[in-house]
């Protein structure tokens, strides 16, 4: 094959590959359909394949539990709920096509959001343009709420820049001899993780804790040894790591390999994945790791016990993923608005109601400001004796917070 024809071949291959990716990812794994037989059709697109498939699958489970509980209870305003779930393959372009299809072709009655800020950013723009309510379970980047959207609502307790606030304020208030003097802030270049770390850093710097390392790494970083080597040289007392999941495991394992064990270790997201986290870094190395979390299976919030029981009934006993609980809460918020307004035709009325009211969910009471950003505080978790505990705020705590990360210290 000549050089020119080879190049043409590559171009054609690339174009067709992209086309195939789009077509494959647009695949619908449900039967779809608009509203016809009195049922309410709710559409969503989730990352069921690709890099975010882990939370995507969990979110699908959460939505399905909510759908079943609503239907078992007589439906939403007396009508059966149908879910149309598309797979966006963790792709920002695909998700735009998916939500356009949900609105334009499937003609769904209501929308539910997808997973991660990366995907919710474009998806929520499609919903806003169509003037449809967009309740999203996981898209806490502050960037989501600077666009003046009226139909967008995030159904966790706080945006990502405020998720570590309770922890940071606790550290800042520690007695001087217990408080770290220096801190390192490695973070994933991600609209969720980076603001999360920045929020903590701002509070700790204001409290006089010196920043000795601060770097952002790219989303497809696999090897963390060089980052850890640089952090180790800086010798911080506290590491605040802005992570999703795989990079959370990767960086922690690199820290262990380099025998770099700072006095305190806070990590976003990854430690909230239960046994997946402890399997990933070794349960013995989890002791004292601190993280922010939206849901506790043991919380005494209204409907939480029923949700946990229904989840276990549908998907087997074991850990209830936080992402499933967040998706369930999104369903609860949508349900509250529809039941309060009494119909689904006026989406503006649904949005207005949510702006004006508080909703009880399994995550606790949620309310929103004019941008759709929630106004509450996150729970703070800590791994203790090989199990996750809620340690802050005190009124929700299942255990007292302990100072220090002790790899090798848990059973």
């Amino acid at each position: 094959m000549s050089h020119v024809s080879l190049r043409r071949g590559f171009t054609a291959a690339a174009l067709t590959g992209v086309l195939a990716l789009s077509l494959a990812a647009c695949g619908d794994d449900s039967d779809g359909g608009g509203d016809s037989d009195g049922s309410i059709v709710i559409g969503t697109s989730l990352p069921l394949t690709g890099e975010f498939s882990q939370p995507g699958k969990a979110a699908q489970q959460g939505y399905e539990v909510w759908q079943k509980m609503v239907n078992d209870d007589g439906g939403l305003i007396g009508r059966e709920v149908e879910l149309v779930v598309k797979d966006d393959a963790s792709n920002q372009n695909t998700i735009v096509a998916d939500y356009n299809a949900l609105i334009g072709q499937d003609k769904v009655d209501l929308l539910l959001g997808t997973f991660s800020s990366l995907l919710n950013l474009p998806a929520s723009a499609v919903a806003e343009k169509a003037q449809m309510l967009y309740v999203e379970p996981a898209g806490g980047s502050p960037d989501m709420f600077t666009r003046g959207f009226e139909y967008l609502f995030f159904t966790q307790q706080a945006t990502s820049d405020k998720q570590g606030k309770v922890f940071a304020e606790w550290v800042a208030a520690l007695p001087e001899d217990e408080r770290p003097e220096t801190a390192a802030y490695p973070t994933l270049d991600d609209p969720f993780a980076a603001p999360n770390v920045a929020g903590i850093q701002e509070i700790l710097e204001a409290a006089g804790i010196e920043t000795v390392y601060e770097e952002t790494y790219a989303i497809d970083t696999k090897n963390f040894d060089t980052i850890v080597s640089a952090m180790k040289s800086a010798d911080p007392d506290l590491v605040v790591h802005g992570a999703q999941f795989e990079d959370g495991i990767g960086l922690t394992r690199s820290m262990l390999k380099a025998d770099f064990t700072p006095d305190m270790f806070y990590e976003t997201n990854a430690p909230s994945f239960g046994s997946q986290y402890s399997d990933g870094i070794g349960v013995e190395n989890t002791e004292g790791v601190v993280y922010a979390v939206s849901h506790s299976p043991d919380a005494a919030t209204p409907g939480n016990a029923e949700f946990v029981a229904a989840y276990e009934d549908m998907f087997g006993e074991g850990e209830v993923p936080e992402d499933a609980a967040d998706a369930f809460a999104a369903g609860q918020v949508l349900q509250a608005a529809v039941e309060a307004v009494g119909d689904i035709d006026d989406q503006k009325a649904l949005a207005d109601w949510l702006h004006d009211n508080e909703v009880e969910t399994i995550l606790g009471p949620l309310s929103w400001d004019e941008t759709g950003a929630p106004t509450g505080d996150f729970l703070i978790g800590q791994w203790q004796n090989g199990a996750p505990e809620i340690v802050l705020p005190e009124d929700a705590a299942t255990a007292e917070i302990e100072i220090g990360w002790h790899p090798g210290g848990a059973d």
């Binding site: 050089h3 020119v4 071949g9 590959g17 394949t49 498939s53 770097e215 952002t216 696999k222 080597s229």
Partner: protein, 294 residues
């Protein structure tokens, strides 16, 4: 100085594993002119097989390479016979589409078999390092790097010192003439595809120990591997090794001396720059028809 040495060693160890993973991809292209987009998926498949052997039977994941590689080799052989062979002489775009589809199928199968949760293989030495002076060398990475060198040396010996290697090179250089001297090019192609996938299998066993993975992790791998083989020169085994080492070094050096944020972008920029100067890659061969076309 210590930091520089530390960075260089980490880069070379990283590049060694990249080299093993990329070797099969370049081998398959060299002989068959097939760009195997599913190569990253086979790396992840091998990681899952290794996990299964380690989790169910307690077999050390790096020693399990002697089991994982033949299993993945067999999967490669069957894949070739069932899916790739009918399109072997089709335009390159067709095989790109085919192998892309194959990658999606493999991702789905792995998701069904092992789930979409993140999986990590942690043998006892996974979080340990050798410490020499102020330098730390992660044990798993050192062992993985040594195994990669061993497998690559074996592959090189087969390709350059055996009858099979001569047959493979003949089939790659001039298939028609190779047929005339009694080489069954179709059989050689099947064998090369399986060997290439087998090399991905060995790499998958190592990467499974080094990094957590999910079925969708193959997207990250195929992007890197394609860049490496293009940098080294499509079809050149030596080029793939050189490209991989440079890629690994570029990642670690950028991370250490510029910013981790650019650690994955700079190697691709280097690939781009090299291709502007040498379109055939560092060790790629410029064929007669390329000159004519130019």
């Amino acid at each position: 100085m210590t930091e520089l040495l530390q960075t260089l060693l980490l880069g070379l160890l990283l590049g060694g594993v990249y080299a093993l993973a990329a070797s099969g991809l370049t081998l398959i292209f060299g002989v068959m002119r097939v760009i195997n987009i599913a190569h990253g998926a086979f790396v992840i498949l091998a990681a899952f097989v290794t996990y299964w052997l380690w989790d169910a039977y307690g077999i050390d994941p790096l020693l399990a390479i002697v089991i994982t590689t033949p299993i993945v080799f067999a999967v490669g052989w069957v894949t070739y016979k069932v899916a790739v062979s009918p399109l072997r002489t089709a335009p390159m775009a067709s095989t790109v589409l085919l192998t892309f589809g194959l990658a999606l199928v493999l991702e789905g199968v792995m998701g069904e078999l092992w789930g979409n949760n993140s999986t990590a293989i942690r043998p006892s030495y996974a979080d340990e390092s050798f410490t020499i002076g102020g330098i730390f060398l992660p044990k798993a990475q050192v062992y993985g790097g040594l195994i990669a060198v061993l497998v690559l040396a074996l592959l090189w010996l087969v390709l350059t010192r055996s009858w099979l290697g001569r047959a493979i090179r003949a089939a790659a250089t001039n298939p028609a003439s190779a047929e005339l001297v009694g080489i069954k090019v179709a059989s050689v192609a099947a064998l090369v595809f399986a060997i290439g996938i087998g090399a991905a299998g060995a790499a998958g066993a190592i990467t499974g120990v080094l990094y957590p993975f999910v079925p969708g992790s193959h997207y990250q791998w195929i992007a890197r591997l394609l860049a490496i083989v293009v940098l080294g020169g499509l079809g050149s085994l030596n080029g793939a090794v050189l490209g991989a080492l440079l890629f690994g070094l570029a990642e670690t050096m950028t991370s250490a001396y510029w910013s981790p944020q650019w650690a994955t972008a700079v190697p691709y920029a280097i690939v781009f720059a090299v291709l502007l100067i040498r379109p055939q890659g560092l060790l790629g061969t410029k064929l007669r028809e390329d000159v004519v076309a130019a």
